[in-house]
Amino acid sequence: MATPVMNQEPGAAAAQTRTVTLGKSLNLGLRAAMEADPKVIVMGEDVGKLGGVFRITDGLQKDFGEQRVLDTPLAESGIVGTAVGLAIRGFRPVCEIQFDGFIFPAFDQIVSQVAKLHFRSQGKIKVPMVIRVPFGGGIGAVEHHSESPESYFAHTAGLKVVSCSNAVDAYWMIQQAIRCDDPVLFFEPKRRYYEKAELDVDATPDPLFASRVLRQGSAATLVSYGPSVKTCLESAVAAAEEGTELEVIDLRTLSPLDLTPVFESVRRTGHLVVVSEAPSESSLASEIAARVQEECFYSLEAPVLRVTGFDTPYPPSKLEEDFLPDLDRVLDAVDRSLGW
């Protein structure tokens, strides 16, 4: 079960499902959101005529016009800052940041305005915007195109942060994020854009801010999100061949964290490995480790282990396979945990 097919009535589903890539799913989700609400607008660099460098917004400008799909001037602070104004005015902007490493010019707007306006105005101002960020490595790119900056945003109160790991979730989560009245940072695992799954657009999705157990197991728990979820599922398959059943949990929501399924799992398995591409220092992986030891101290049979990117800048791409957690590093950590 590499990619989950959710909420399907066996038998009846076949006619309604279609095979889509994660990227296409986002595109379909954006389209559905724009059809459902005329206040939804898409803005970013090259999102219009080109359809985005990853084609996630392909065809939207053609069908919804230049007033709803804006090829903006080249400035991320401008994109996010004007989206704040548009949101105050009643729009629901969906901003695209072309690559993870280019979100930083918008950092000030995100941290100072997007995150705080609701609090500062004591709820009088809502900022229902989504900031889409293709993130993570593994595509052989040059600098600034492979980063995992999600922890900065999870660290910032007032922002909601989610990440989808498969095509089915992509379709639903982007629509739910757009409907959310709080600002949502939406991290898309760019190296998984071409991963396929069966999508049933008539299904009832899970809530947005909920983690999900993707695979059950009793020996140890793997927790991950975004691009590393697939790595974890593959690790679990490999471990199963050796007779070790790993439980795999896809966090989906990074802020607020939904760790209840993680606590329940760890209470059963006694072992937890957290997997993420981001450097570990002061990261989400560290936060999860801290919370689990607070909640599950007596159930733990080994310390929580983290398999992450190193505490370095993202390396030149010839070295990224070393940097990124892979199946071997995940299983090595599982072995260390089980052998503690």
Partner: protein, 401 residues
């Protein structure tokens, strides 16, 4: 009622304000033209047909250029183009992860690059392979970035050519600071003064960093030449997505001169760049140059321009090719013969072959490289992380992994 000029050059007190919200078709066309044609203020010394047009204002800055020098500029451009085409081919063959072509921008980059003196500093974006050439950066040193073996392997201090900067606009502020330093150290004021040149694109002009760079350089009188290559496109976005008025005119608002030069004319670009650098060297900086040129190829090897621009446009710009006009000029004035052109051709083939040879033999970086030089004085936590990983990885050596 309202004239096209009003729409493109809004001035107070002349007719109705704010016509931009509902421009007439005529005004839109005028607006587009203001950013997509060179316009009357374009400095040009060599026409696309290779005609040398006298220019009382600018001739003096290239009065010393002999036939030999012109042949040298031609050679620079041909070799630069050859490096570029080889980079593109190497990417197509899987030897590079990506390549960023400069095709069409050779004159802008060689004109600017050859105006730089050894003491001058340059801050490139990511497309300045021609400026790198002028700054004596070995073409093979550019490959690592695109092959994924390093983030820039030349010595930016020794070469006075900063690392490529990919985050749009960042380098403009860095260059402003560097130029402020040149002034603070008393290195401006005479013919031997220092100056800095920073390269960025038309799209970059929208970034806050570029605006701030204009502000800083101007209030500190920094010896900085802002060299904007307006190649008409920022990936899929035409220049009119970034500006309502020609980019060079922005300088006026910051209080320093701005000038638009034919960026496909190496002689004009050299003249204007020499003037601008000289102004800075003598303490009259900063200056903005808009080099009006065209990105003949895709944005990068991963881009598909057929999705957003017409081949007609490309065809029109082919007629303004920067190399062809110099060739025609040299031939017409009998300043170069077949032997010369053949020898440049042979030299470029040789250079390309060497580049290819170098590229395919580039070793992968060692794993230690991930952890090295993150800090000047190291970091014990990171050192432990490195040791753990290297010892873990050594367990796979010789195996299937």
């Amino acid at each position: 009622m309202s004239s096209p000029e009003q729409w493109t050059h809004p001035e107070p007190g002349v007719g109705p304000a704010a016509t931009a919200a509902a421009p007439t078709a005529e005004q839109v066309i005028a607006g587009l033209r203001a950013t997509s044609e060179g316009g009357p203020e374009l400095v040009q010394l060599l026409t696309p047909e290779g005609e040398r047009v006298p220019n009382p204002e600018w001739d003096r800055y290239v009065a010393d250029i002999t036939a030999d020098d012109l042949r040298g500029l031609y050679r620079d451009m041909v070799l630069t183009r050859r490096i570029d085409r080889e980079g593109n081919a190497l990417q197509r063959q899987g030897q590079l992860g990506i390549w960023v072509p400069l095709l069409g921008q050779e004159a802008a980059q060689i004109g600017a690059g050859r105006a730089l003196k050894p003491q001058d500093m340059a801050f490139p974006s990511y497309r300045e392979h021609g400026v790198a050439w002028c700054k004596d950066v070995a073409p093979s040193d550019l490959l690592g970035i695109f092959r994924g073996t390093d983030h820039g392997s030349w010595d930016p201090i020794a070469k006075r050519f900063h690392l490529y900067t990919i985050v749009i606009g960042n380098q403009v502020l860095n260059a402003a600071g560097y130029a402020m330093g040149q002034r603070f150290e008393g290195k401006v004021g005479d013919d031997d003064g220092e100056a800095t040149m920073v390269f960025f694109g038309d799209g970059a002009t929208s970034q806050g960093d570029v605006h701030e760079g204009f502000v800083w350089a101007s209030v500190y009188d920094a010896p900085l030449v802002f060299f904007c290559q307006n190649n008409q496109w920022a990936i899929s976005e035409p220049t009119e997505r970034q500006s309502r008025l020609p980019l060079y005119q922005r300088a006026r608002g910051y209080g320093f001169p701005g000038i638009r030069v034919d960026g496909n004319d190496v002689l004009a670009t050299l003249a204007v760049s020499r003037w601008a650098l000289s102004e800075c060297r003598h303490g009259n900086g900063p200056v903005l140059i808009e080099a009006f040129t065209y990105r003949m190829d895709a944005h990068t090897t991963t881009d598909d321009p057929s999705r957003y621009r017409l081949t007609d446009e490309l065809e029109a710009w082919k007629l303004k090719d920067p190399i062809e006009r110099v060739r025609v000029h040299l031939v017409r004035h009998e300043q170069a013969d077949k032997e010369f052109f053949d020898s440049v051709q042979a030299e470029s083939d040789q250079l390309a072959a060497e580049l290819r040879e170098f590229c395919v033999n580039m070793p992968d970086p060692p794993k230690e490289r991930i952890f090295s030089q993150v800090y000047e004085d190291g970091n014990p936590v990171l050192a432990a992380q490195r040791d753990t990983y290297l010892s873990y990885a050594s367990g796979f050596e010789g195996g299937d992994h």
